[in-house]
């Protein structure tokens, strides 16, 4: 399903973009609905789409010690699958944990768009960078044992 530019414009991912750029982005993006339990991609998969959550929840899991651990869940306005922007295989498995409406953008088309217009490219990368950096801080907080010992 194509995505109306007005819906896209609500996302912080698009907030840095000019209306023209936003429209260009809408052209390559699609809106999809997933039921709970749907798997968007698996750890180790080849690069594919980048997702933006409009509604619902996507949980990232990683394999470790013979089992699977949920490491992060993402909700409205958050980015899923950034590693594809770096042409990398998927670093985690993304499963829809609450029925979700997502914006799917093929990574190759998105990168092409960025190449074409460096201003668009900068805005998109800046947004992705901010997102990834937040996650890095979160991960560090977890390393610090956020809920530590309190008697």
């Amino acid at each position: 399903m194509p995505i109306p530019p007005t819906v896209l414009a609500e996302l912080s991912f698009a907030k840095r973009l000019s209306p023209d750029a936003c429209a260009a982005l809408a052209e390559i993006a699609e809106m999809e609905t997933f039921p709970a339990g749907a798997v968007l991609f698996r750890e180790g998969d080849l690069p594919g789409g980048v997702y933006l959550v409009l509604d619902g929840r996507v949980t990232l899991t990683m394999r470790a010690g013979g089992g699977e651990s949920a490491v992060l869940s993402l909700g409205t306005d958050e980015l899923v699958g950034w590693s594809s922007l770096l042409h990398r295989t998927r670093v985690a498995t993304a499963t829809v944990s609450r029925a979700a409406q997502l914006v799917r953008i093929p990574a190759s088309a998105l990168l092409e768009l960025c190449e074409r217009d460096p201003r668009v490219g900068y805005a998109i990368m800046a947004q992705a960078f901010e997102d990834v950096s937040d996650r890095l801080v979160d991960t560090r907080m977890q390393l610090l044992d956020l809920y530590g010992r309190r008697g």
């Binding site: 977890q142 044992d145 809920y147």
Partner: protein
């Protein structure tokens, strides 16, 4: 003003000992002038004086016959009232699980202090402010202090380490004594400052002092004032010191500082203490002592097994900023009276006045908030627990239980306050109230140390010791009428639960309550069933997240700040938080991004609250004692110090 002959000193000593008073006066012992029980004027250090320098104290013979021709020795009136070590109570744990506590109360003992100097009178006043005049009264100190006759001496010469003139505490005795003496070679001037002093003076053979005598006194005191060996600039010293928390001088002085604690021991105002439990071999009886402690020892800043102030640098900074800075906002007077003892008795010869000067080169001033006064009215606090019975035990998670306790004649508690829970022979710890269950007061406890483990192992019917409630709780009144954001991390939900319950019970006052709660795993979530029950309340929103989980968990995964980031909060929302310091730090940043300003955020501080009465100094945090000024603070009260190392 009267004049007495030197021979009257004997009579004065005699009179001061009437009614069974113990006379404490200066006397020569082991190379110094000590304060000790004396009986006659012959015990006084007649013909002795002291020569002091940084790290050095020597007695020296004078040619004269004066008894007070010295300045100050290593000890002060402090140890008369605030004992270096004294028993608090005996506790007993019987085989049937019952406990008993017997306070150990000192025998009333009347004292007369002879030869007290103006600086030490100021120090007594400072300690009175700590132990007697605050919201909590130490009955042991108070009883020893109550009936004390004080015979002071004006300083007519200053020592090389004296700076009472700078601190405004001397050299002249103005108040705090019953009698004031000024000594000359052959006679003494004497003045009664109280009716008790007058009564005593009336029994001495004295004559009216002449105008020349009075002139001599004024001139001598003035000359002492002018010849102080040390000087400090006290103007805005509080703000100036707190503006220099990162000054390289702290590191530099730490290279010289032995962190041995001598300065705090000889300081006439330092009041930090700790407790020591001694139990018998089977742990059935235990005795708790209180003893002098120092902010220079590691244990003093210990919090959950690590020291908040791990380095000497941080400890020296703590001492100086407290003594000359934070003290003022806590007690209305400086903690330094200018006696110079910390300079003389420092084995390394560190000179406080020199350090202060080096740290005061800049005019920068920190903005120091003043703590909200403790709401409690004055009451005796003997720090003796009373028995409480476990009504029920609810297991919340693998290592967390909630105990409902039946407390005899409980004082009303507010959400966010805490009790001191103890098990004889094992220890005592502050645990915040997590709710009320019928007649029981609930505490939710995570087993992390030996005491909390033992608490978690209690079964219904067994007993433990409790004292409390203590501290400042959540600002329920300020929260009323506004949207409230509650952010909890891990066991940090416990101190918030009763506040949540009260808010949910009163939607009129609290129409919009949003709880953001993060725990390590789904299994660590506290009060899960109760929280689910809350979700049908109108105006309540619940967001839960865990750090990690199995893939079957359908809820949020990630830190609690991520939940906040995704949300919006209504205008004018207020926030209350509880969790580890690191979590609160990031939560405050996230809240700020959502427009919740510092003056609308309240949090609980983590410091080890030991005595809970503001007496032991353990939970000192800048200008606050967390146990009595907190543990709940409005963030802007602590913002300048929060999250800083070594505070």
């Amino acid at each position: 003003m009267r004049r007495i002959d030197r021979s009257q000193l004997e009579q004065l000593c005699h009179l001061a000992q009437r009614d069974g008073r113990t006379l404490i006066g200066p006397t020569v012992r082991d190379g110094a002038i000590a304060l000790a029980p004396i009986t006659t004027a012959a015990d006084l250090p007649v013909g002795w004086t002291d020569v002091q320098a940084p790290g050095r104290y020597r007695l020296s013979r004078t040619q004269g016959q004066r008894a007070f021709d010295f300045v100050v020795g290593p000890n002060s009136a402090k140890e008369q009232f605030f004992k270096p070590r004294e028993p608090l109570y005996r506790a007993e744990r019987r085989a049937d699980g019952r406990v008993g506590f017997v306070a150990i109360v000192p025998e009333p003992e009347k004292r007369a202090l002879l030869g007290v100097r103006a600086c030490d009178l100021a120090a007594i006043a400072v300690q009175d402010a700590v132990f007697v005049e605050g919201a909590m009264r130490d009955p042991r100190y108070a009883s020893r202090r109550a009936d004390t006759l004080v015979i002071a001496v004006h300083c007519t010469r200053a020592g090389s380490l004296c700076f009472c003139a700078s601190m405004g505490t001397g050299p002249k005795v103005n108040s705090g004594a019953d009698l004031a003496l000024a000594e000359r070679e052959h006679d003494l001037l004497i003045e009664a400052l109280t009716p008790a002093g007058e009564a005593l003076l009336a029994q001495l053979s004295s004559e009216e002092a002449s105008g020349e005598d009075l002139r001599w006194l004024d001139e001598s005191v003035e000359s002492a004032r002018a010849s102080m060996g040390r000087h400090v600039d006290t103007r805005a010293v509080h703000e100036r010191l707190f503006a220099q928390l990162e000054h390289p001088r702290w590191k530099e002085v730490a290279d010289r500082c032995l962190s041995c604690g001598n300065c705090t021991s000889v300081c006439p105002t330092c009041f930090c203490s700790t407790t020591e439990d001694r139990s018998d071999l089977d742990g059935s009886t235990a005795e708790r002592d209180r003893l002098w402690e120092s902010c220079f020892s590691r244990e003093h800043s210990e919090l959950h097994g690590h020291a908040v102030r791990g380095s000497t640098e941080q400890r020296y900074r703590q001492w100086l900023t407290h003594k000359l800075g934070a003290w003022v906002s806590q007690f209305g007077a400086s903690g330094c009276v200018g006696c110079g003892r910390c300079i003389a008795w420092c084995p390394a010869g560190i000179d406080l006045t020199e350090e202060l000067a080096a740290l005061s080169t800049s005019d920068a001033r920190a903005l120091m908030p003043v703590a909200a006064p403790c709401a409690e009215e004055g009451r005796d606090e003997a720090m003796v627990p009373s028995p409480a019975r476990v009504l029920s035990v609810t297991r919340e998670s693998s290592d967390v239980v909630t105990l409902a306790l039946a407390i005899d004649e409980p004082r009303p508690f507010a959400p966010g306050q805490f009790y001191q829970l103890s098990i004889p022979g094992i220890g005592e710890a502050p645990i915040s109230v997590s709710g009320r269950d019928g007649a029981g007061v609930e505490h939710t406890i995570r087993a992390v140390g030996s005491l909390t483990r033992a608490l978690c192992e209690l079964s219904p019917g067994s007993e433990l010791g409790v004292r409390g409630p203590y501290g400042r709780g959540w600002p329920m009144r300020e929260l009323a009428g506004a949207p409230v954001v509650v952010v909890a991390g891990g066991i940090g939900l416990a101190p918030l639960r009763e506040a949540l319950r009260q808010m949910l019970a009163d939607p009129q006052q609290y129409p919009d309550v949003r709880l953001f709660y993060g725990a390590r795993t789904p299994e660590d979530l506290l009060y899960a069933r109760e929280m689910l029950g809350w979700t049908d309340r109108r105006g309540f929103q619940l967001s839960i997240t865990v750090d990690r989980s199995s893939p079957t968990w359908r809820g949020n995964v990630g830190v609690v700040t991520r939940l906040l980031k995704r949300s919006t909060v209504p205008d004018a929302a207020r926030a209350i938080l509880c969790g580890p310091e690191v979590m609160m730090r990031f939560t405050i940043q996230a809240l700020a991004r959502l427009g919740v300003t510092h003056d609308r955020i309240w949090l609980t501080m983590e410091r080890h609250m030991k005595c809970a009465t503001g007496h032991c100094g353990r939970c000192q945090f800048g200008p606050y004692f967390v146990c009595k000024d907190g543990p709940v603070f409005r963030y802007d009260e602590v913002a300048s110090l929060f999250g800083r190392d070594g505070i």
